[in-house]
Symmetry: C2
Subunit: 272 residues, 2 copies
């Protein structure tokens, strides 16, 4: 028996310590943006990016939509990509799923058992019994504040004295008694990350939107850190993956990733 912390959180903590980084690289293969040199070989492209960045990251996040868009070969490419990631680095599958228990169980088995990922992003609209089946196999990151312009259509509605996204954060804290739960809090609205951190002091936060979507990296990390100066996972997808369209794409990905890591290392922990 080893003394290492168990589950997703243990694996994440170890990966953060080892890499001295909160960076997560999003593995979203878009054939329209591939460097010429890879000639459409999706798997090889992703393996090279993983190989060039693995000492700089605390997690990888493949978005399943980009693999579904590959059609019949998509599942195989996704599975190979997950397998190419070292076991010590947690894999968060960005799937944003949410369905009744019977169906959620199907998704959970496919992702945790067949693909072998460590965590999945989920949508809260249908409530806890659509999240719980995922927690039996691994961790779930619940959408809370998203980075898109229409996020405000519902997430900022005032419901009985507080915005919907804070209802989600509070419920997620309750759900975390049943398993490993985190929240997705986009970097495009850092002031909301502070509010989420107040009601959910211990949940890990997955923060997308600092790359191509121009969210505020430093403010998001500062507001998102937990009491131990941990608990944030900052995702960058396109800015790293497509850093260069030339044959130097892997070195360019590493250089851009390193730039994000260095900026994060300079963020001072906010006084709490």
């Amino acid at each position: 028996m080893s003394n290492a912390p168990e589950g997703f959180r243990g694996k994440l903590c170890n990966a953060i310590e080892r890499s001295r980084s909160f960076l997560c690289v999003g593995l979203d293969p878009d054939p329209a943006r591939f460097p010429d040199v890879v000639r459409g070989d999706v798997g090889a492209f992703l393996r090279e990016v993983v190989s060039a960045t693995q000492d700089l990251v605390c997690a990888y996040k493949p978005n399943i939509a980009f693999y579904e868009a590959l059609g019949e070969r998509g599942w195989r490419v996704l599975k190979d990509t997950v397998e190419a990631i070292p076991d010590s680095i947690p894999v968060i599958l960005d799937a944003k799923r949410g369905d009744i228990g019977n169906t959620a169980k199907m998704y959970a088995k496919a992702y945790f058992k067949d693909l072998g990922v460590d965590a999945v992003t989920v949508n809260p609209y249908m409530g806890f019994d659509t999240i719980e089946p995922f927690l039996r196999y691994g961790a779930a990151f619940v959408l809370c504040i998203t980075t898109n312009p229409s996020a405000g259509d519902f997430q900022f509605l005032q419901a009985e004295g507080k915005p919907l996204y804070l209802w989600v954060a509070e419920r997620a804290v309750e759900w975390a008694r049943s398993g490993e739960v985190g929240l997705v809090t986009g970097a495009t609205r850092p002031e909301t990350i502070r509010k989420v951190r107040e009601v959910a002091p211990c949940l890990p936060l997955l923060i997308p939107g600092v790359g191509a979507q121009k969210g505020d990296l430093e403010a998001s990390v500062r507001e998102g850190l937990d009491g131990e100066g941990r608990g944030v996972i900052v995702n960058v997808s396109r800015a790293v993956l497509y850093a260069s369209s030339g044959p130097d794409f892997a070195e360019a990905a590493r250089r851009v990733a390193m730039g994000f890591v260095e900026r994060m290392r300079k963020v001072e922990i906010r006084e709490i």
Copy 2:
């Protein structure tokens, strides 16, 4: 040029007229429940059920989770299943997707272009810009009231004077100016279907939950019908698909489907 109504709605109207039925059969293959006689041949099982029920339905609804759970062969089985459905019957892919525009476009292309479905179910939590990419290719059914026990975690929260699900219904009416939009309104709470119908008099309603989930078929149809006595699609999955575990599974599926159709044909239109 034909004079037939175009798009999803036209296809649906024609299918309702022809079948004199609001029944949609959910095609959710669960290998654990297959009749022995099919020996794990998912494709053959689904084709037989389609063949035995196609004159009784106005739509089919495969839930993509069950195909993902098949692993690498899942996409092929799903594509073959969609191809086995006559072109005149609309296919609603139950995917409950919702992601930022860039990603939603990937999903939309995969489902409408590669698989060739007519409509997709989507999750409203992230707002309109996550729905809109689907509308460029086909119809989207937005989750409004779901059938699961935890639906009330957020859907019934009172936000500025009305429950969240009515906010979703109202927004969906606005979104319907940009394309073909419907709502998912579960049969386990028929009184909420009435409220949705009041704010969304013209949107088609996809009503799951009348089979294994024991929702109220008659009340749901009565409350859901639009001013023309149309506009409902009542889904039954497990009760039809697994009507018998013997070699008579296809005839049994037809018999159970016919039972639902006959009950729906007896529903009188509510006075409006």
